[in-house]
C-alpha cells in the first residue's frame, strides 16, 4: 500500500539552537487512525505544523499523497490546530459557508447534522460561544470534510469527559475509511481504543512506530502503560 504521508530527513530548529524535530523519517499509510504520542515539548505539534504548512522545515522533505506541502495538499488535509482561530462576530453558519466556498470536500449537510447533534445553533455568533463550544465547532469544520488526511492536535485536551466521548465518536463515525487520522495527544487512555497505530516521539525523534495491537501483544500491557514505561521521568 502506498503511503499517504512521507517525511524524509525532516528537521526543524529554532534559532539554529533548539532542534525541535531531528532528522525524522516517517511514512504513514492510508486508512488508519494513528496516535502521535509523546510528552510535552517532544516535537509533536512542530511535526503537525510542518505537515500543514504552518511551519517551514529547516531540512528535509514532506509529501502528502505524493505532493509537496502547498495548496494541493491543503485541499486534502483537514487540520484541527491546538489554537482557536474562530474569532469575530460571524455566525457559525457563515463560517460553514466560508469552508464550503474554499474546500470542495466540505459537506454542509454533514456539518449541520453534527452541529444539531451538539445542540449548537447555526445562527450563534462566534463571540458568544464558550471556549469548549468553539473547539467543538472547529472539530465539526474538520470532520465535516471528506479529507484524505485528518490531523488533530490535542483534540480532547481541555474538554469535559462527555465531550471527549462525543469527539472520539465523531472522529470514528465521520472519517472516510480510505483516509488517515493522525491524532496528537498525551491523554492516551482516552483514545487508546480507537488507535490502529502509534508513533512515540521523544526530543524530536521517532522512538517507536508500531501497531497498537502489536504493542499490547508483545509487551503484554496497554499502550498507555507502555508509554508510561518508555517516558518514565
Amino acid at each position: 500500500m502506498s503511503s499517504l504521508v512521507e517525511l524524509k530527513g525532516v528537521s526543524k530548529s529554532y534559532d539554529n539552537k533548539l532542534l525541535a524535530v531531528n532528522n525524522v523519517n516517517l511514512s504513514l499509510p492510508r486508512g488508519k487512525i494513528i496516535g502521535l504520542l509523546g510528552p510535552n515539548g517532544s516535537g509533536k505539534t512542530t511535526m503537525i505544523k510542518m505537515i500543514n504548512g504552518i511551519l517551514a522545515p529547516t531540512a528535509g522533505e514532506i509529501r502528502i499523497a505524493g505532493m509537496p506541502v502547498g495548496p494541493g495538499t491543503k485541499a486534502r488535509v483537514a487540520y484541527l490546530p491546538d489554537r482557536n482561530y474562530l474569532t469575530g462576530n460571524k455566525t457559525v453558519e457563515q463560517v460553514f459557508h466560508y469552508f464550503d466556498d474554499f474546500y470542495e470536500n466540505f459537506s454542509m449537510q454533514k456539518a449541520l447534522g453534527m452541529l444539531e447533534s451538539l445542540h449548537i445553533q447555526p445562527e450563534a455568533r462566534l463571540n458568544s460561544l464558550s471556549k469548549g463550544t468553539k473547539e467543538k465547532v472547529q472539530l465539526i469544520l474538520v470532520m465535516g470534510r471528506d479529507a484524505d488526511l485528518y490531523v488533530l492536535d490535542e483534540p480532547i485536551a481541555g474538554v469535559d469527559p462527555a465531550a471527549r466521548d462525543y469527539i472520539l465518536r465523531a472522529i470514528i463515525d465521520n472519517y472516510n475509511p480510505e483516509a488517515t487520522v493522525l491524532i496528537s495527544t498525551h491523554l492516551i487512555t482516552d483514545i487508546e481504543n480507537v488507535l490502529d497505530e502509534v508513533v512515540f516521539v521523544r526530543r524530536g525523534q521517532i522512538v517507536l512506530y508500531n501497531s497498537a495491537d502489536k504493542i499490547r501483544e508483545e509487551k503484554g500491557k496497554s499502550v498507555d502503560a507502555y508509554f508510561r514505561e518508555v517516558f518514565a521521568c
Partner: protein, 293 residues
C-alpha cells in the same frame, strides 16, 4: 480562489471602510456648517452687509478655527485609520491564531498577499478620493464666499482655453495640466496599493525575528519608508538639478513644473519598486520561512 479570497476580504473590511468614509463625509459637513457659514458671516460683517458685534465675531472666528482643526485631524485620522486598521487586520489574519486558518486554505501565498493588498489598497484609494472630494467641496464653498464674483467664469475661461486654444501659451500650460492629471492619477491609482504592500511586506519580514515580531515588523516598516524616502529624494534632486542645468528656465517657465514632476516620478518609481520587491520577498517568506508561533 483569488476571487473568493477577495470577496471575503471585502466582507471582513467593509465595515471599517464605510465607517472611515462616513467620518470624512461628516467632517465635510462640519467644515461647511462650522467653517464656511461663520466665514460667510464674518465677511458680510466686514463688508457691512450684516451687523454683528465684536463678541459674535470672536465666537465665529473661534468656531472656524476649531472646526478646521477638527476637520484636518479628522482627515488625517481617516488616512492613518485605514493604514493602522489594515496593518492590524493583516497581522491578525496572517500571523496570529487566525493564521492557522488562513495558511491552511488551499490557496497560494501569492493569492493571499494579492487579495489583502488589493482590498486594503481599494479602501485606501477610496479614502484618498473621499478626502480629495471633501477638500474640493469645501474649497468650492470657500471660493464662493471669499473670492469676488466672476471667479468661476474665469476658471471656466481657462479650462476652455486649455481644451480648445492652440496658441503657444496655452499649449505650454496644457502640458503642465496634463502632467498634473497624471500626477494625481498615479497617486490615486497606484500609490495606495504600493503603500499597503510596503506595510504588509514589512510586517512579513518582522516574522523572521524570533521575538517581538509585530514590533519588529513596525520597525522594519519605518526603516523601509525612511530609507526609500531618502533614496527617492536624493535621486530626484540629482535628476532635477541635472535637468535644470541643461536648460534655460528663463526661456521656459513651465520647466519648473516639469522638473518637479520628474522628481516626483523618480520617487514614485522608487516606492513602486520597493513595493514590488517586498511582494516577492513576502511571498518567499510565506513559502519557505513561515513560522507561526
Amino acid at each position: 480562489m483569488l476571487g473568493k479570497l477577495i470577496k471575503y476580504e471585502w466582507k471582513d473590511t467593509c465595515k471599517m471602510g464605510f465607517l472611515v468614509l462616513a467620518v470624512i463625509a461628516c467632517m465635510t459637513l462640519l467644515g461647511v456648517v462650522g467653517g464656511v457659514f461663520p466665514i460667510n458671516f464674518l465677511v458680510k460683517n466686514a463688508q457691512g452687509i450684516t451687523d454683528g458685534n465684536e463678541l459674535s465675531n470672536i465666537l465665529m472666528g473661534f468656531t472656524v478655527m476649531t472646526t478646521y482643526m477638527v476637520y484636518i485631524i479628522g482627515l488625517i485620522g481617516g488616512v492613518y485609520g485605514v493604514l493602522i486598521y489594515s496593518g492590524v487586520h493583516f497581522y491578525k489574519t496572517m500571523y496570529s491564531d487566525q493564521g492557522y486558518l488562513t495558511h491552511t486554505l488551499p490557496v497560494t501565498s501569492g493569492q493571499l498577499l494579492i487579495s489583502k493588498m488589493f482590498i486594503s489598497g481599494v479602501w485606501y484609494m477610496l479614502v484618498l478620493l473621499g478626502i480629495s472630494i471633501s477638500i474640493m467641496t469645501l474649497s468650492g464653498f470657500l471660493i464662493n464666499v471669499l473670492l469676488p464674483e466672476g471667479f468661476w467664469e474665469s476658471v471656466a475661461e481657462i479650462f476652455r482655453g486649455l481644451l480648445w486654444d492652440n496658441s503657444e501659451g496655452y499649449a505650454e500650460v496644457r502640458m503642465v495640466f496634463v502632467q498634473l492629471i497624471f500626477f494625481w492619477l498615479f497617486n490615486l491609482l497606484i500609490m495606495p496599493f504600493a503603500t499597503m504592500m510596503i506595510l504588509y511586506g514589512s510586517l512579513t519580514i518582522g516574522q523572521l525575528f524570533r521575538k517581538y515580531r509585530a514590533v519588529m515588523g513596525i520597525l522594519v516598516y519605518f526603516g523601509i519608508t525612511f530609507l526609500s524616502g531618502i533614496f527617492g529624494s536624493v535621486a530626484s534632486q540629482i535628476v532635477t538639478t541635472m535637468q535644470m542645468l541643461a536648460s534655460d528656465m528663463a526661456e521656459d517657465y513651465t520647466a519648473v513644473f516639469m522638473y518637479g514632476f520628474g522628481g516626483y516620478y523618480i520617487q514614485f518609481f522608487v516606492t513602486v519598486g520597493v513595493a514590488v520587491g517586498l511582494f516577492f520577498v513576502s511571498n518567499h517568506i510565506l513559502q519557505k520561512k513561515l513560522n507561526l508561533e
